[in-house]
């Protein structure tokens, strides 16, 4: 398969790395206007810094661009190539997502996958295997915290430019957690949301607190933040017969801590000493294959002409619907404590 990668930033490089080692891939072309035209590619990667885009030499396209060009490129790629892998978010807003969905509907036999790799992290897969019929019983509630500290150059990043990004930390990082919530609970509706722009003052939310409810009435609570000075990823799932707590993420820098899953079982029958303090097991993981597996699923689905198992248009619709409803409910407000000059 000949693959076109649009955008050669952080995500473009990750996808390129995964594609280089995939047996179905025989050519990679990277398109990015920021590339230096003087820099040559390598034997297996062609670099293109401008027009014309070599659509005719592509069997699949990877959209790894800033948000403002995601939707138009995705629409064009669906029309021209029909096999598209698109990084999250699927557009800056509901309208852009809808344009992508319409383009997909006009492209029969298309393969469209969105990059929601957190589903494939080992702590999440292990949690999935253990809840419900896996022994811990039905889910009673779900809480998720996902946040980063931003960093000194946070304001300069395109992700925090309202025009380019379309949304703040909820759309950028919280969207992964929303995808996980849907994975565990199915369709969710927004009950309440509070968004603040209390520290960075970019005109986008730097904290989002979102209360959701599943169709079966299971509550879920998300805190998505760009002011967690200690990088945090934590999902807590309470079940009828126990609980799991996934935390940490295997990442390049390791800043989210060691990826692990705590498993505890409810113990209040005939075990008086254990009430409120059950035996816990902690599984620690040392290998994240989520990027490779996500790409593999897209490529094999495209080759076999079948729908992908995850990252589907329906998965994207669910998260974008929640994001739309949260933004409609609560535009980001400046918190009273905010004083950008004080930093």
């Amino acid at each position: 398969m000949r693959c076109l990668i649009f955008g050669y930033g952080y995500m473009g490089k990750i996808r390129c790395q995964a594609l280089r080692h995939h047996p179905l891939v025989r050519q990679i072309t990277v398109v990015d206007p920021a590339l230096d035209p003087a820099v040559a590619g390598s034997a297996d990667i062609e670099l293109v810094s401008g027009e014309p885009i070599p659509w005719e030499r592509a069997d699949a396209a990877f959209i790894c661009t800033p948000n403002h060009v995601t939707a138009p490129l995705c629409v064009e790629a669906l029309r021209r190539v029909g096999r598209v892998f698109c990084e999250k978010p699927p557009g800056r807003n509901w309208e852009e997502f809808s344009r992508i969905a319409e383009a997909a509907a006009r492209a029969p036999g298309h393969t469209l996958v969105f990059g929601f790799n957190h589903r494939l992290h080992p702590c999440i897969e292990a949690a999935r295997a253990l809840i419900g019929e896996g022994g811990l019983g039905d889910v009673l509630y779900l809480k998720g915290t996902y946040g980063k500290s931003g960093g000194a150059r946070y304001r300069e990043n395109w992700r925090n430019n309202p025009e380019i990004a379309g949304g703040g930390i909820l759309l950028d990082q919280g969207i992964h957690m929303l995808d996980l919530f849907h994975l565990f609970l199915g369709e969710l509706s927004v009950v309440e949301a509070v968004l603040t722009d209390g520290f960075w003052g970019c005109g986008l939310e730097d904290n989002a607190f979102v209360l959701l409810r599943s169709e079966r009435g299971v509550p879920a609570f998300l805190h998505s933040s760009a002011t967690l000075w200690k990088h945090t990823f934590r999902v807590e799932i309470g079940c009828r017969d126990g609980y799991v707590m996934a935390s940490g993420l295997l990442s390049k820098t390791g800043s989210y801590g060691r990826e692990q899953l705590v498993i505890g079982r409810r113990q209040f029958e005939d075990e008086a000493l254990a009430i409120g303090n059950p035996r816990e097991e902690i599984i620690q993981f040392d290998r994240d294959e989520s990027w490779e597996r996500e790409v593999h699923e897209f490529l094999t689905a495209a080759k076999d002409g079948r729908p992908a198992a995850h990252g589907t248009l329906e998965d994207a619709r669910r998260v974008m619907q929640v994001v739309r409803d949260v933004y409609a409910l609560s535009p980001p407000t400046r918190a009273a404590v905010s004083d950008p000059g004080r930093r």
């Binding site: 035996r279 902690i282 599984i283 040392d286």
Partner: protein, 325 residues
């Protein structure tokens, strides 16, 4: 590969009290010593085949160290047939009312077997292996066979004599193929651990899961106390691998490691029990500081040992490698 840590406090007296152990240990040593009055053979490292370096004796029975991977091994053994009879005799004694095992049956079921069952169940679920046929290699009879059968985790539980498997006896080689297998401290007992793994691999489908528990010499209480550790004796600890040695043995025997954990909870209690019994136990001042910390400190140290693969109780999950042409 994953690592599992357990947050649980189990008192040593509830599962293997040092005082209660002594009579059982003496019996084990006597039976082992008696077997060695017959023909005996000098052993080599079960991992590398290198000659063992003698490190000392346990009640007159010499132990040697694998020069490549560490770990201690009883240096001499009688014929496999005779050793099988030793294991049978010790197993019979373990089940008699004369040992602490019988006295503590309920607390051992709760604190020893229940967590093992939970571990196996969770691992099977994580790997999408529902209701496998499970092979248990053991010296009959085994409490765990009954526990496995009653658990409903497995479609069927088949058993095979660990010594017969280790020594390639025809009866052990035949029988239904399993999707999972369990070796509870079997590698610690048999005369030929590599042979046992070959035997199990022969009864395990490709990609089948193998569950192994073992005491490891690289763990805290065994490292600190060395051969003076009263929990170290034949035949139960004929082989006391290091964690590294155990992983090498599995990999060389056609298995890929899935989990390698040391979720032991007793290391510090074991050292403290030895100190309480004999103040002359040769610990450095620093080691004494460690084991004499308050409860909070002990819990933190035990958690650290678990996280870093430094507890003496090892739990391993390995997958039978798919043969490629």
């Amino acid at each position: 590969m994953r690592v599992v840590q357990t947050q649980q406090w189990v008192p040593l007296v509830a599962v293997k009290p040092l005082d209660g152990l002594l009579a059982y240990r003496a019996h084990c040593l006597a039976v082992s010593r008696a077997s060695l009055r017959e023909r005996r053979g000098l052993r080599r490292s079960p991992i590398t085949g290198l000659p063992l370096e003698r490190v000392g004796d346990i009640d007159g029975l010499p132990y040697g160290r694998c020069p490549a991977s560490g770990g201690w091994f009883l240096m001499e053994l009688p014929s496999p047939e005779r050793w099988a009879r030793v294991l049978e005799e010790v197993n019979r004694f373990r089940r008699s009312p004369e040992t602490f095992h019988a006295e503590l049956a309920q607390s051992r079921a709760d604190a020893v077997y229940a967590p093992k069952l939970e571990w196996i169940g969770e691992t099977l679920r994580l790997h999408g292996l529902a209701h496998p046929v499970m092979l248990e290699a053991m010296t009959a009879p085994s409490h765990f066979t009954t526990i496995l059968r009653e658990s409903a985790l497995c479609r069927d539980v088949v058993t095979a004599d660990e010594m017969a498997l280790a020594n390639g006896l025809p009866d052990a080689r035949s029988g239904p193929m399993a999707q999972a297998a369990v070796l509870l401290e079997s590698l610690d007992r048999v005369n030929d651990p590599a042979g046992l793994l070959r035997g199990v691999a022969g009864r395990l489908e490709e990609s089948g899961l193998l569950f192994v528990t073992a005491l490891v010499a690289s763990g805290f209480d065994l490292s600190v106390l060395g051969l003076k550790n009263l929990y170290l004796y034949p035949p139960d600890r004929t082989n006391c691998f290091s964690l590294q040695g155990l992983s090498q043995l599995l990999e060389r025997s056609g298995f890929d490691l899935v989990e390698m954990s040391t979720p032991g909870v007793l290391d510090i209690q074991i050292v403290r029990a030895h100190l309480a019994r004999d103040q002359g136990v040769p610990l450095s001042a620093f080691e004494r500081q460690l084991v004499e910390m308050d409860e909070e400190g002990q819990a933190a140290l035990q958690a650290f040992l678990q996280q870093r693969g430094l507890s003496s109780f090892a739990r391993i999950v390995a997958r039978r490698r798919v043969e490629t042409a």
